[in-house]
Symmetry: C2
Subunit: 338 residues, 2 copies
C-alpha cells in the first residue's frame, strides 16, 4: 500500500515536472493531485524516493526532479500508453499516403513525427540488406554503356551506369539479364550478391570482361552499405523551444545530428515496439540530458530499419512513445502496399 503511494508520488512528480519544467515541491503536489494525504507525508515519501535514487533535489530548498532512474521507472512501470487522437491518426495516414516514392515516405515520416512529438525526429532509410530483389533490368545505352536498374522489395529503385570496354551483343545482354534474374529474384540482397559471384564462371571466356564488369557493379549495388546508413533528420525548429538550457538540451543534440553514425547508433539495435533510452543509456556521455525513443518499422513482422525521436529527458514519454509507435506502424504498412 505504502509502496503504491510512493510510486504514485513518483508518477505525479514526473508528470508535473514534464509539464512545468520546474522542480516540484510537496505542497504543490498535494494541491494538483488528489493524493489524500498531507504534504508532510509526501515529504517523507519524497525523501525515501530520493534515498532510493529516483529523485534528486537541485538544492536544499527547491523541489525535487526525477533522476534518469526515476524516468526509467516511470516508463517501465508507471506510464499508461496514451492513445493518439483520431485526428492525429488520420493526419499520419493521409500525410504518409500522399508519398510518391521511398525517399518521399522517409521525408514525410520525419516531418510528421517531428510535428507530433515536438522533437527532433530521425528516420533511417529502409535497409537494402534486409529487403529482397524484386526486379533487375539491363538497358543498353548509346556507346558501350549499360544502365543497370534494381528494384527492391522495399520499393527502392537503384540505378547504375557502367562503361564497358566493348559493346555487348543484344543476345549476351538479354541472356545475362535472364540468368541474373533467375539467380537473384526474391533473394535477400546479401545472398543475391553471393549468387552473382558464382554466375561469372558460367559464361564463355570471351564474354567474361563484359559480364564481370556488369555483375560486379550489380553486386556492389546489392551490398552497398550507403542506403543502410543513411538517415533523415527533421524538426530542428523544435529545439528552439528549449532555449533555456542550451548547453544540456540543444548543443549535444545539434552535435549528434551532424554525424549519421552517431544517429544510427542512437536508434540502436532492432527491438519490438517503442524502446526508450534515457540519459546515459544512450551510450554517450554528452547526451546525458537527452532521451531517445525509437522503434523498428517494416511491413508486418519484417524489419526494414529504425525511426525515432530525440529530446530532453524531461519529455512526455507516453505521448512520444505513442507517436513513434503509430508512425512506425503506418510507415510499415505503406511500404508493404507500395
Amino acid at each position: 500500500m505504502i509502496e503504491d503511494r510512493r510510486l504514485n508520488v513518483l508518477r505525479a512528480i514526473v508528470e508535473d515536472y514534464v509539464a512545468t519544467q520546474e522542480p516540484v515541491g510537496s505542497k504543490a503536489l498535494v494541491e494538483r493531485h488528489r493524493l489524500g494525504v498531507s504534504s508532510a507525508t509526501i515529504r517523507n515519501d519524497m525523501a525515501a524516493l530520493e534515498d532510493e535514487g529516483y529523485l534528486t533535489a537541485p538544492h536544499t530548498s527547491a523541489g525535487r526532479i526525477p533522476t534518469d532512474k526515476g524516468y526509467r521507472m516511470f516508463v517501465d512501470r508507471l506510464a499508461e500508453v496514451k492513445a493518439l487522437s483520431i485526428a492525429e491518426r488520420r493526419a499520419i495516414e493521409t500525410f504518409l499516403s500522399g508519398a510518391i516514392d521511398v525517399d518521399d515516405i522517409v521525408m514525410r515520416s520525419v516531418k510528421i513525427l517531428a510535428q507530433l512529438t515536438n522533437q527532433v525526429a530521425i528516420v533511417q532509410y529502409p535497409s537494402l540488406t534486409r529487403s529482397t530483389v524484386r526486379h533487375v533490368e539491363l538497358v543498353a545505352l548509346e556507346g558501350s554503356r549499360v544502365l543497370i536498374v534494381v528494384i527492391t522489395s522495399s520499393g527502392r529503385v537503384e540505378q547504375r551506369i557502367v562503361e564497358l570496354v566493348e559493346t555487348p551483343s543484344e543476345g549476351l545482354l538479354s541472356d545475362l539479364k535472364s540468368r541474373i534474374v533467375r539467380a537473384t529474384l526474391g533473394e535477400r540482397l546479401p545472398e543475391a550478391s553471393l549468387r552473382l559471384a558464382e554466375l561469372i564462371d558460367t559464361f564463355a571466356t570471351d564474354d567474361r570482361p563484359v559480364v564481370t564488369s556488369i555483375v560486379t557493379t550489380l553486386a556492389n549495388t546489392f551490398s552497398n552499405e550507403r542506403s543502410d546508413e543513411r538517415v533523415a533528420v527533421g524538426g530542428t525548429g523544435n529545439l528552439a523551444r528549449f532555449g533555456a538550457d542550451f548547453d544540456t538540451a540543444i548543443r549535444p543534440v545539434l552535435e549528434a545530428m551532424e554525424e549519421q553514425v552517431v544517429l544510427l547508433h542512437l536508434l540502436g539495435e532492432a527491438t519490438v515496439g517503442p524502446h526508450v533510452r534515457i540519459g546515459r543509456e544512450t551510450g554517450r556521455d554528452d547526451l546525458s540530458g537527452t532521451a531517445v525513443v525509437s522503434s523498428t518499422y517494416g511491413p508486418d513482422g519484417e524489419t526494414f530499419a529504425q525511426l525515432g525521436t530525440m529530446g530532453p529527458t524531461r519529455m512526455d514519454y507516453p505521448a512520444t512513445m505513442a507517436a513513434v509507435g503509430a508512425v512506425a506502424r503506418y510507415v510499415g504498412r505503406i511500404l508493404a502496399d507500395g
Copy 2:
C-alpha cells in the same frame, strides 16, 4: 584623405568585431592597428561614421559595432577577397571528387562548405528545369508495367513505374521510345515537356491509352518541381558556437531550416559570383541578425542551382565568400565531368 581614413576605421572595426565579438573602442583600435593617429581622432571619426549610419553604440560607454549598412559597405568596398589556402582547395577537390552520384555530390558539398565556413550550409539540388534530356529509356516489366528512366545533363537519374491498362506490344514501346528520344533529346526539360504533349496525336487511336499514360507520366517527371525545390542542409553543429545569443543567432536559423521554401528564398535569385544578403536584406524580419552568402553553380556558364551559407551578420565575409565561391566552382566542374 580623411575619407580614406574613415573607411579604414570602419574596416578595422568590422574586422575586430568579427574577431572578438565585442564592441570595439577607440583605444583598443589604435593599439591593434597602425592607424598613425591618436584615439581622440579615431573617436571623432567613429562619431562621424555613427552619424552616417555605419556604426552604432550599444550604450553610451561601450565601443561601437557595425550596423547592417556598415557590413554592406565593408563587403562592397572594403573587403579584399581572401584566397583559400592550397590545403583547403585540395580538401575541397579530393572530397568532392570522391562522390559517386548527384545526391552524393550535394551531400558532400554541404559537408565541406559547413566545415570550411563553420556555418550552416545550404545546397540546392541541381535543377531539373535548367538541365537537358540526355537519355530516355522505356523498359517493359512483368505484367503490364513499364519502367521509365530519364537521365538529365546534370547527371540526375529519375525513374517512374507506370501501371498500364493493357500490355503494350514490343513494337509500340520501341517506336514510342525512339519518337520520344527524337523529340526531346538535348531539350531543356520544360520544352521537352511541351514536345511530349504534341507527340500523342501522332499515334494511332488504338495506341492512345498506352501512349497517353506513358507520355503524361514522363511529362510530369520533366516538369516535376520537387527536385528543384529540394535543398540539403548541414553544419547545424556550428550553431552550437553561438550559444551566447541564442535568440538572435540560433533560434531564427533553426526555424528557417525547417522550411525548404524559406531556404530556397534565402538562396535567392541567380546571381554571378558570391552574393551577400545582410540582415533585413534577406527579406525576413526574424533573420535580422543573420547574413546569407550564396552563389549559383553549374558547369561553366550554365546555372544549375544555388548554394550558400547562413550565419550571424558578424561573420568573416571575405573567408566565407571565398569558400562559397570555391565550392560552387568545384561542384560545377564535377557536374560537368560526371
